[in-house]
């Protein structure tokens, strides 16, 4: 058996960092060998650094508890400790641009959970089932910036439950023209502590700062084309998103109305397309790839966060309630696990894709 690839986690003590640690426990390809965090945590054993604020429901993996947390800003000291870093640092935008850039410069592959680089035209925003082709911008990214390593990002956690179903239809040859959708988003999407409990008992909050913009803009880039070392967004698809915070721990639900341009598939055909959808992660048998990638629920009252978020170990998107729309062509409901498929799990799948394609040494 080949040695595992050494990976690090930047922002290891935060909520997303903890999810990386949880999801990478026992990973067949990756081994966590470096934990970076703020100077406050540096020098402590991981278990001590997160004492009283380990938020996962399973214990700290035994091989992680005793690892000494490093100061993530001391990039020079990381050399040799790992090849790839998952970045979940919590800083202002410029701080993230600088820090992740330094890692890339020094030769690390950076898979980032942050939004800072997402709208930069030579940085891919990867959903592995959709836009593997965007990885072809990496050489241009490296050359332009003088980086020995490179950066890829994963998108905002609000979009996976509609992006993968929409892409499946696009891959089958249909063109989506318009999407109006309402998100019912779980509180874990806001990190810890996130929303106050008094605001989410017997209540919903019809606003999440910045989420609607991300839910509308990032899809255009992900559906875009690479041209001359740049990713050119696809501006033909028009998306309008209402984002609500609801009293749910995990699992984002999307109520979508969609309109096609040109040919309109039949209802049974759409369900067939979804049920048979497969893409690189499934074909390359990536360890975290859900099989199937899309679950179509026949029950009239599904998907539901409580019952469907763990489909495919939290990596599958569950779709249901496909029906005619009175205004557009069709309506449906999509659901994904926001902290798995929508965050750390999505990044790990992207890293697996990079590894499978030989892009990490």
């Amino acid at each position: 058996m080949a040695a595992k690839l050494k990976v690090g986690i930047l922002g290891a003590t935060g909520m997303v960092g903890q999810n990386y640690i949880r999801l990478l426990a026992g990973h067949p390809w990756f081994e966590v060998t470096y934990l970076g965090a703020s100077p406050n945590s540096a020098g402590k054993k991981f278990a001590d650094a997160v004492a009283g604020r380990w938020h996962m429901h399973t214990p700290i993996p035994p091989n992680i508890s005793g690892l000494i947390v490093a100061d993530a800003s001391k990039v020079d000291e990381v050399t040799g400790k790992c090849s790839l870093v998952f970045s979940a640092v919590e800083m202002d935008k410029q701080g993230i641009l600088d820090l992740e850039g330094k890692y890339a410069e020094k030769g690390f592959v950076v898979v980032s959970n942050n939004s800072a680089y997402r709208l930069v035209d030579d940085i891919p925003v990867i959903i592995p089932e959709i836009n593997e082709a965007h990885l072809t911008v990496i050489p241009a990214q490296q050359q332009k910036r003088g980086w020995k390593g490179f950066i890829v990002t994963k998108p905002n956690c609000s979009i996976q439950s509609y992006m993968i179903p929409l892409y499946a239809l696009m891959k089958a040859g249909y063109v989506i023209d318009k999407v109006i959708l309402t998100m019912l988003q779980a509180v874990s999407g806001a990190g810890y502590p996130g929303p106050a409990s008094i605001d989410l008992i017997d209540n919903i909050v019809p606003y999440i700062g910045g989420e609607e913009e991300k839910s509308e803009v990032e899809p255009k880039k992900i559906f875009g084309k690479v041209d001359n070392g740049k990713i050119i967004p696809d501006d033909r698809i028009k998306i309008s998103a209402h984002c609500n915070r609801v009293p749910v721990t995990d699992g984002h639900t999307a109520c979508c109305s969609i309109q096609f341009a040109g040919k309109i598939p039949g209802m049974d055909e759409i369900i067939d397309i979804w049920r048979n959808f497969t893409s690189s992660p499934q074909e390359l048998k990536l360890p975290s790839a859900p099989v199937p990638a899309l679950v179509y629920a026949d029950e009239v009252n599904r998907p539901q966060p409580q019952k469907d978020r763990d489909a495919g170990n939290g990596m599958a998107v569950t779709v249901g309630r496909l029906r005619k729309c009175n205004v557009f062509d069709y309506r449906f409901v999509g659901l994904h696990h926001n902290t798995v498929r929508g965050a750390a799990g999505g990044s790990i799948l992207a890293a697996e894709l990079l590894k499978a394609k030989g892009m990490i040494k």
Copy 2:
């Protein structure tokens, strides 16, 4: 001071019936003098009939506790006891058609909470701020059916939070072409017991049987015109509704995207129209009429069920988050109290309108 009008409640022991009793306590125009229910409850004092299942948060009004509940099906015995009945009976559709019809035949004014008669073309579905004009079909209704009394209904509880804001714009001269909306509906809308708690802890359910159809069809009738003793639905407006059940006790939230036909008002103009909207209930100073009818919330994260459902004693609709839509013209969020404005309170306001117009003796 004139004597109060005597009113009865059919289905007085159920959840909606209890809401009527709560909201009519101390009403300046109406006095509850008759309580009808199933034979099981007949003959009992009201307090005994609902022992262990009085679901309101305030006590049974003292003048109601001791009233003897009657068998609602014995219509002959009701004569002289009241002039108007609020109907909240729980029966199959045919049972309701028969029972409410008998009351109308005998000369009672029936204001019904039920859906049975709603799509019949000579029966108005009244939102008092919107379609007072539909009351002009009553003479035709009486003549055709040989009724001495008549029936009006109130619409489904899911539509008020977008109907009143939309109507305000229509009244100002704008034409609404398309509406795509997602409802986040409170559990009290399902009566008692309603959804199981295990289905609504850490969960949302993206389906409510029959609600989407009602939310799409009833508005067309309410916006319709009277022609030759019939209400002709307005088929020009196209509405698509996604209805979800969320863990909220009271208060339905609507996330709406709207497209105009023809002229498009500016954002400030829309807010002005909403803030200045007034209609018959306000002009006639009906006791339950909210002033203002529409509240526009400036805060970016409002309306919220917990904070806004009680606006105008539960009779006002709160609107917020008006903003451009990427696909249609505008988006906004509306909210109303589903068991007050959306049910018993809406019926009481309709009855007040009938009284003010001299249609009840």
Copy 3:
């Protein structure tokens, strides 16, 4: 009609301060004329100072919106603006001791929501129904400290639902020996933001820092006797409290087992004692005094926070489920509204008592 007494609120922009403002709107005896807060808020209109963080469900009272917030630490500038201050400042213990002491020194009556002075032997911790007699230490307090004004405090918000029922039995001549109780406490007890929503969706947290100690120690002082200018705690009663945070917005529930020393009342007698309990606030007809002070619920599944917290406008304690205990003598469940009776409302009632007794000029 006599002019109203001018009162100020220290910490007016915080959650408790907002509750004072809400509860004092339209108060027949008191008029809010001074709002003190931190230097950050000073100089702003109140409405601006709390923009985006007004947490009450009713709007800011019109006479308060435009009041200019002052820097609460500039005590000299408050002279003449009010006679009494309700203190809800958020500072460390020494900061509160200093600030409230300065107000008392300058001649203000201070009614404090804070715990800083609660265990000091010449400072009363007042539940107006129970220990009015402790006000007799005030002259000693003033003399010893050289204060022209004085300080009284209200107890922690976790104890009212058992203290008043227990005191009613003590007043009737029974001696309580032992109490073992479990509190199910609402999230509003923690202020804003309080617990994270992710910790209170599908969860309870069996720990609230400091609450168990307060719930056990403060009762002894409140049940104590005044001796030589000091309040001597009653150490005979032994109390053990388990404090849990539960997913409830407002309303603390106490599950109590009690053992008497000596004579044991019968079950019917206890209910009679509770139902007939009355004390100074009721006898003096204080504006906020609930009548009755104690509600005994006959229904087997009451009291419940959602249904009973607003009894007596949030000032009554609701008791239910009195039954034999297998280990002690009796068990019962008590409930009170933690932000009304347990916080701002309890302080206002204490201030009313001071006014009625002529202790404020």
Copy 4:
């Protein structure tokens, strides 16, 4: 590898039956070969019989979907299909007594989830870690009743979180005299649909019919001794239980105060006893036995339902917050998963014990 033991499920379509099916999927010793239910379901494939009401979060196991459901009352037809039946039928008490008795008469081993037989003196109520010795009454049970098979029951789901910690102390030689406890019970304990969501949003209900009695009486029997073919309850231990329903899906929390008779262990000793506790299920390496049986959580705010219910695959009890009690000797908080350890999982562990002891052929 030996063939698996064939087992049946009575009441297979209900909530508890579904839990049996879920937990027995892939069981190393048992294979589900018979599904019994009411005549309504009989003759249908299991998947069809539960269409729209499969409440588990994982899909129906493939080998179960197509099994034809039988009429559980036709006991004669079950012969040869399985040796042991897990009974979760929903009937009145007499119906259960008759039906389970018939199965035992015909030679089946019956492991019952129902309370009907629990207080009968020759029927064991088994918590496998505690009272394996009660199985010695089986021969007397068979002889007295003329049964070829026999019945064992598992206790009510409310008691496991304190019974196992208490027993661990008793096994270490300490005598428990008094226990006062408050249960915070999850809604899944009430089956489906269980409590109405409107009663458990922003609320707790301080009453669950029959639970307090079961929580007080069943422990005495479980701690009892076998004498002359009968189980004699231990009346020395006195237990008082307050049972509340809280807005939690799964996981019952017990807040306990305990008093010893005689020698009192030290705090560290108690924690040691709990952490080192082991009993027959662990020693016999039963497939469902949690190792460790008891988890002691060091964090001050644990155990919590959301974070600790799945410890030991839902079979471990998590204990925490051991501290001095002001009234009794100690206090602690216990937690267990009510539908796993407290219901189907507890029964399966009991069946495993029977199998390991050679009591099932």
